[in-house]
Symmetry: C2
Subunit: 459 residues, 2 copies
């Protein structure tokens, strides 16, 4: 059962980063084998079937301006994008009252708006001093890496309302509790993904567009091109380096190669034994990666009825479950879909999800629909379908984005991406620009491929 | 190669917790199989060979008063303890100056001593309000779980000197950065392990005694008793429950049982697939466990020469590598051994280990010996041997103790130990008393065994 194969480069992981790396290598004339642990390609992108050929994205789903490398890849693959639906008025709901608003800025109280602005100004001023390729060289790097983003907010926000806005905005993009994220990491992300407006906005921001057919189409197209080079159900358990090359041992096959690109989150890469042992910094980045985990909940309606009422479907709330809601209908609006996220992001602020909803799908559905009914009226109470994608129970994927904990950047610097002999590291977590986004996955892949090509065979 | 076996209870993990559980079950007349992933028993206890039959402990090594369950177990197994050597004067070294002192309290500046005292007083007052079995019910639980111990120290320590003392004390016992540890978790640990003096002290505290022959003798004795019930090299990859029992699949053997006790750290338990899926809280505790990781460095001398000079060998310092030094010689003092720890604990305070020492054993040795020479003179510069145990590269053990991150206790409460159908949880991380200590490992085992015995077969 354990076949043997020889190739120029092994890529581990058939997410967008791994498959992009494999394609670039193949384009450069290198032979390549992609080993994927799971039974599908796409990694943290995947589709859920709604009905009659309609799909919705169970994982990473957005692209936006400035995400040039993933946009270029979409172009190369002939995939089209469409704008996230935000026409009409959005809803800001807090303490039992709903307000409707136009544009991107929810109608916080004047004091909270001023507070949000001063927090944003300060964070962006700090972020500008953080060199993207070497955040640990920022003048105040040690101070900022010794605290978390959540604590900085706790200490510097004057209003709970502004702080909640940050928590919601960053939970959607980072799937992670700001209290587990180093402030220095967060500042580097603010700098590397175009600023806070860009991070939190739909129009003109990182949530601006979706991919027709779902983002998993990227991986599927790449895999089609790569054909038999992609091997599924092949979890890798060992990478062994010697003077002449590297042997990658997987459940289905051993592959001998000149180099290997590991295109996995650092947390997942920790499952692979490496011989000889990894440098301490790399080992620590892997072992102490704080994985964000979340679920996506979808309510499906015959049509996007809120649009008829002049609503965008977008809502920012303090309701028990639906903290952020967005219209996730297919491009033709043939059915209506409302999406929310349920994750770890608010835990560090002392909040908790209502009892029972984490383990009881029926309770979760009820609580979500109750919130939607508050926001969008009785028509929201009876969807034609309810779907969810829970990333807590994936066999081979331990989380979404996440972060290095306090102290890791200043102590271990670029250990997340520094090559270890013949081993190179991809995955969006290793990107310096748009880290955590699909674009970061592509950029990390291209950087890893450059490393491989520039070193040449055996050098 | 994949045999099949049937038993009353499967225990996963042959550390002290797992083997204690197996022995208790066998004593109660239950048949038991222990599946251990690695090629040895002991888990996070192990011996290093020094020379001529002399050993030193590579992992957990101390027991102390109040740790009644592990002390009782030592008695049952006929193992003896001896006192950690602290006779004579200890050294407090800070900013280039060494001071010698008697007793347990280093000669901090008067202001720092007062500061340490107020911090200790406040922490212990807070800890008294934390119910051991349900820390999340403390009146201020949400506030304390929304911050980290490190941040509380940053905010409340008036002197860097007192803060450093806490960092050193807690790094030795927790192997973890206080900035990755929820304050509520730490308060529960202070309460559950007898207070701060008890945590940091040798005499009268948790570092008071060692086990003759090393703590790994506990696991070895237990394994001898259990005989063929203990199977090594048997990593478990799946636990599948059904109405009638549970099937545990390992690399070497599948075992069918009535119940299973998982005696692993939550981080390591995450490697095992569970069908049907785990409750969300348990899954999140596993995935978001923050593992502390550290190395132990040992300098071995022909004899403990410092004793002749009236020194205990103990030192508390701000030197680059040897922050805390302790005499780790064998009971007869036949050779002299000085021990220090190198880990993640200081990272969140913006400190970092000197360049190169993490990856270069020779540099690490040199830096350690340079520090020892500052403390103990030229005789320390030339040991007869240098040993180290690096816990960063263990194949099956992802860390030492560690902690739940902020928000986890209040959101997921007792998910770390609440049984999941036929699955029960042991390991020191699941103990409410002496969590993280050997004693916690024994207590957790006994609690899990009680659960199994009280539910009876198939109930």
């Amino acid at each position: 059962m354990n076949g043997f194969r020889s190739t120029d480069v092994v890529v581990i992981g058939a997410g967008i980063s791994g498959l992009t790396a494999a394609r670039r290598l193949a384009q450069a004339g290198r032979s390549v084998v992609v080993l994927e642990a799971g039974d599908r390609v796409g990694g943290r992108t995947m589709n859920l079937d709604v009905a009659d050929g309609v799909v919705t994205e169970g994982g990473g789903q957005w692209v936006g301006p400035g995400q040039d490398r993933v946009l270029a890849l979409l172009g190369e693959l002939g995939l089209r994008t469409f704008e996230t639906y935000v026409d009409g008025k959005s809803i800001y709901h807090r303490r039992g009252r709903s307000k409707r608003y136009d544009g991107t800025i929810p109608p916080l109280s004047p004091l909270a708006l001023a507070d949000f602005a001063q927090l944003q100004l300060r964070l962006e001023r700090m972020a500008r001093t953080v060199p993207l390729d070497a955040p640990w060289t920022a003048r105040r790097a040690r101070t900022w890496d010794a605290t978390t983003f959540g604590h900085w907010l706790d200490a510097n926000a004057m209003t709970a309302e502004a702080r909640e806005m940050f928590a919601i905005g960053f939970s959607v993009t980072n799937s992670e509790d700001p209290h587990s994220t180093s402030l220095l990491v967060q500042l580097a992300r603010i700098r590397g993904s175009g600023g806070i407006d860009h991070i939190v906005n739909v129009t003109g921001g990182a949530q601006e567009s979706r991919v027709v057919g779902g983002t998993v189409r990227i991986a599927e197209r790449l895999a089609e091109e790569l054909g038999e080079a992609v091997l599924l159900d092949s979890p890798v358990f060992e990478i062994a380096q010697d003077a002449d090359g590297v042997t990658v041992r997987s459940a289905r096959r051993d592959v001998r190669a000149d180099r290997v690109i590991v295109a996995m989150s650092p947390a997942d890469a920790a499952r692979i034994r490496v011989a000889p042992g990894l440098p301490a910094g790399r080992a620590m980045v892997q072992r102490r990666w704080s994985s964000g985990v979340e679920s996506k909940l979808f309510a499906v309606y015959e049509r996007p009825f809120w649009r008829e009422e002049g609503l965008s479907g977008q809502a920012v709330t303090d309701l028990p479950v639906a903290r952020y809601v967005v219209d996730n209908s297919p491009p033709d609006g043939g059915v209506g879909i409302l999406l929310t996220f349920l994750g770890t992001a608010h835990a560090g602020f002392g909040e908790r999800w209502p009892d029972g909803i984490l383990d009881d799908p029926a309770a979760r559905r009820s609580a979500f629909l109750a919130d939607l009914t508050v926001l969008f009226g009785e028509r929201a109470a009876n969807p034609v379908a309810y779907l969810e994608k829970d990333w807590t129970h994936e066999a081979w994927i331990s989380g979404c984005v996440g972060s290095r904990p306090p102290g890791s950047l200043t102590q271990y610097t670029d250990a997340d991406r520094r090559p270890v002999g013949r081993i190179h590291w991809a995955g969006t977590e290793t990107a310096t620009v748009n880290q955590g986004y699909l674009d970061g996955a592509v950029r990390a892949a291209e950087r890893a491929v450059d490393e491989v090509l520039n070193r040449g065979a055996g050098s």
